[in-house]
C-alpha cells in the first residue's frame, strides 16, 4: 500500500466538503473493496476520508410505506433485519448469497453499490485496462473472459458488476439518496450505474463530490413470489457467473407484474422492461418464461470463454420465474 493521510468526519456536510475539495481522496466506510484495491495498487488515494461514524446507520420507515436503509448499515444488518426478512426476503437472500459472513459484517450498503469489478485484468497492473487507465485498451476482450459480460458491453470494456445485493435492489426498484454541495437528490436505481461506452472508468452517475446517504425500498417487497438464483463455480463464497432476481405479483395463474434482474452478465444490474412486459397479463407458463428469457438475451454477445453464459442465463431466468411462482425463494 502507498502512504496516505487519514481524516475522520462526523457529519455528512463535512464529508461532502472534504471530498469536494480533494479529488485525490477517497471516502472509506467498510473498506472491504477499497483497501483490497489499495493493496493491489489499483487504487492509490493520497487521503482517506473515513465516513464510518456518520449517523447513517439506521433502518427506518421510509416514504409511502417503504423502508429506508442508511448508507452505513452493514450487509449483515440488512440481511438479518426482521423487517427486511419479512417484507423484502429477496434482498436478504441476495445479500446472503454474496461474500462471507466476515465481509458482510464489515461491508456497508452504500459501499456495496460502489464496489468495483472483479475483472482479473482490472486487478492486474501488468495488463492494459480501460477502467484503470482510460485509453490503454481492454485485455479481457481477447483474453480469459469466462467471467465477463454478455450484455451492455462496449468495444472498450466487458467487465461485470459484481454485486448480488444490487441485483435485488434493481428488481425491487430501489431509490438511492445522495448528498452533495448543491444539496440532496435521488437517483432511481436503474440510473445509478452506467454502461461502459467509451468511458468505462466512469461507472456511476454519482458526481465526484457526492456521497450516498441511503437507499429507499419501495413499499412492494414481492414477498409471496420472489426468487434469487446464483449460479457459480462453487456452492458458497464465489462471484456469480449468472444470477437472477425474479419478483412477481400474481393474480391466480396470471402474472400481474414481473421484475427480472440479472447479475454476473453485464456492467450493471440488468433489467429489460421490454422482456418484463412480455410476462405481464399472461399465464405463468414455462413457454411464456422462455419467451421472456429469449427476449432478455436477444442482444447478448459472447467473447469466447463466456459464450456459455447466454444459454445459462436463459435457463436460470426460466428457473427463477418458475420458483417465484411456486413460492420457492432460492435453490
Amino acid at each position: 500500500m502507498n502512504s496516505f493521510s487519514y481524516t475522520r468526519v462526523d457529519t455528512v456536510a463535512s464529508a461532502v466538503r472534504e471530498i469536494a475539495a480533494d479529488s485525490a481522496a477517497r471516502l472509506i466506510a467498510g473498506g472491504t473493496n477499497l483497501i483490497d484495491l489499495m493493496k493491489e495498487n489499483v487504487e492509490r488515494p493520497s487521503r482517506l476520508i473515513d465516513i464510518a461514524r456518520l449517523a447513517l446507520k439506521e433502518l427506518q420507515p421510509g416514504a409511502d410505506g417503504g423502508l429506508r436503509l442508511g448508507a452505513l448499515v452493514t450487509n449483515t444488518e440488512v440481511a438479518y433485519n426482521d423487517e427486511v426478512e419479512n417484507r423484502y426476503p429477496l434482498l436478504s437472500t441476495a445479500i446472503l448469497s454474496g461474500a462471507s459472513p466476515q465481509l458482510r459484517n464489515m461491508a456497508t450498503v452504500g459501499g456495496n453499490l460502489l464496489q468495483r469489478t472483479r475483472c482479473c485484468y482490472f486487478y492486474d497492473l501488468a495488463t492494459p485496462c480501460n477502467k484503470r487507465e482510460p485509453g490503454a485498451g481492454c485485455s479481457a476482450m481477447a483474453g480469459f473472459n469466462r467471467a465477463h459480460a454478455i450484455l451492455g458491453t462496449s468495444a472498450h470494456c466487458i467487465a461485470t458488476h459484481p454485486s448480488d445485493m444490487c441485483v435485488a435492489l434493481a428488481a425491487l426498484g430501489a431509490v438511492v439518496s445522495v448528498s452533495g454541495p448543491g444539496g440532496e437528490r435521488s437517483i432511481p436505481f436503474a440510473e445509478l450505474h452506467r454502461l461502459p461506452g467509451d468511458a468505462p472508468h466512469i461507472e456511476t452517475t454519482l458526481r465526484a463530490d457526492e456521497i450516498i446517504t441511503g437507499i429507499d425500498l419501495p413499499r412492494k417487497g414481492f414477498r409471496a413470489h420472489h426468487s434469487y438464483i446464483k449460479v457459480r463455480d462453487r456452492a458458497s463464497y464465489a462471484f456469480a457467473l449468472v444470477s437472477v432476481a425474479a419478483a412477481l405479483e400474481m393474480d391466480g395463474d396470471i402474472v400481474k407484474e414481473a421484475r427480472v434482474a440479472l447479475g454476473g452478465v453485464a456492467p450493471k444490474p440488468w433489467r429489460d422492461p421490454m422482456a418484463e412486459a412480455l410476462l405481464k397479463g399472461r399465464s405463468a407458463t414455462r413457454d411464456n418464461f422462455h419467451r421472456a428469457a429469449e427476449a432478455m438475451l436477444r442482444d447478448a454477445k459472447g467473447f469466447g470463454h463466456n459464450n456459455f453464459k447466454i444459454e445459462l442465463a436463459k435457463n436460470t431466468i426460466v428457473r427463477a420465474l418458475s420458483q417465484a411462482v411456486a413460492g420457492e425463494a432460492h435453490s
Binding site: 462471507s100 459472513p101 466476515q102
Partner: protein, 178 residues
C-alpha cells in the same frame, strides 16, 4: 538506494509522510493507546506491534479468513480494515478467548474433534466460529458449512471443523439462538 540519504533528505522525507495518529483499542480486555501510521491494517498492528501473532496472515485480501478476529463482538477480516478505522473498538483475538488456563468451549471442541492439521487457519476458524455462534443463525450442518465459507482450510479439515462447531451449537441449544 546505494547512497545513504543525508540527514536533510531524511528529514524531508519524514516530514512529507502523513502524521501518525493516536488511537486507543481495548484488546483482549486491556486498553492500549498507541500511534499508528494510517496504512497499518488491524492485522499488522496485532502481529507486528502487539506481538499477538495468533492471528494469522494468509492471503491478506479477505479471501481466506485466517486473520478473522472479533471486533465489538462481530467477526471480521482484520486484513481489510485499518487500525485507525477501529479507534475505540474492542478487539478479541484467539489469545483472548481462554480464561486463564480454561479454554473457550470452541477451543475445547476443536481439540476434541481433531479439527485441524497444520493449524495455520485454526485461530481464524475458531474466532469465526465464535462469531457464528453469537449470530445465532447456524441451525443445521449445512448452515454451519455455509456460514463458515469465509474460512479456508488448506489441509481440508472441514468435516472435523464442522463437527466441532456443531458440537458447541448443539450444547448451546436455546442459549445461542436469536
Amino acid at each position: 538506494m546505494n547512497d545513504s540519504p543525508n540527514k536533510d533528505n531524511a528529514e524531508k522525507v519524514t516530514g512529507a509522510l502523513p502524521a501518525r495518529i493516536e488511537i486507543s483499542l481495548k484488546i483482549n480486555g486491556v486498553m492500549k493507546r498507541m500511534e499508528v501510521e494510517p496504512w497499518t491494517t488491524l492485522l499488522d498492528l496485532l502481529r507486528d506491534r502487539l506481538d499477538l501473532t495468533g492471528t494469522k496472515k494468509g492471503c491478506d485480501h479477505g479471501q481466506c479468513g485466517a486473520c478473522t478476529v472479533l471486533v465489538n463482538g462481530k467477526r471480521i477480516n482484520s486484513c481489510l480494515t485499518l487500525a485507525v478505522m477501529q479507534d475505540g473498538a474492542e478487539v478479541t483475538t484467539i489469545e483472548g478467548l481462554a480464561e486463564g488456563e480454561v479454554l473457550h468451549p470452541m477451543q475445547e471442541a476443536f481439540i476434541e474433534h481433531d479439527a485441524f492439521q497444520c493449524g495455520y487457519c485454526t485461530p481464524g476458524q475458531i474466532c469465526s466460529a465464535v462469531g457464528l455462534i453469537a449470530e445465532g443463525r447456524a441451525e443445521t450442518l449445512d448452515d454451519v458449512r455455509e456460514l463458515m465459507s469465509g474460512n479456508i482450510c488448506r489441509c481440508g479439515a472441514f468435516p472435523n471443523i464442522v463437527a466441532a462447531i456443531r458440537h458447541v451449537t448443539a450444547s448451546n441449544e436455546g442459549g445461542g439462538k436469536r
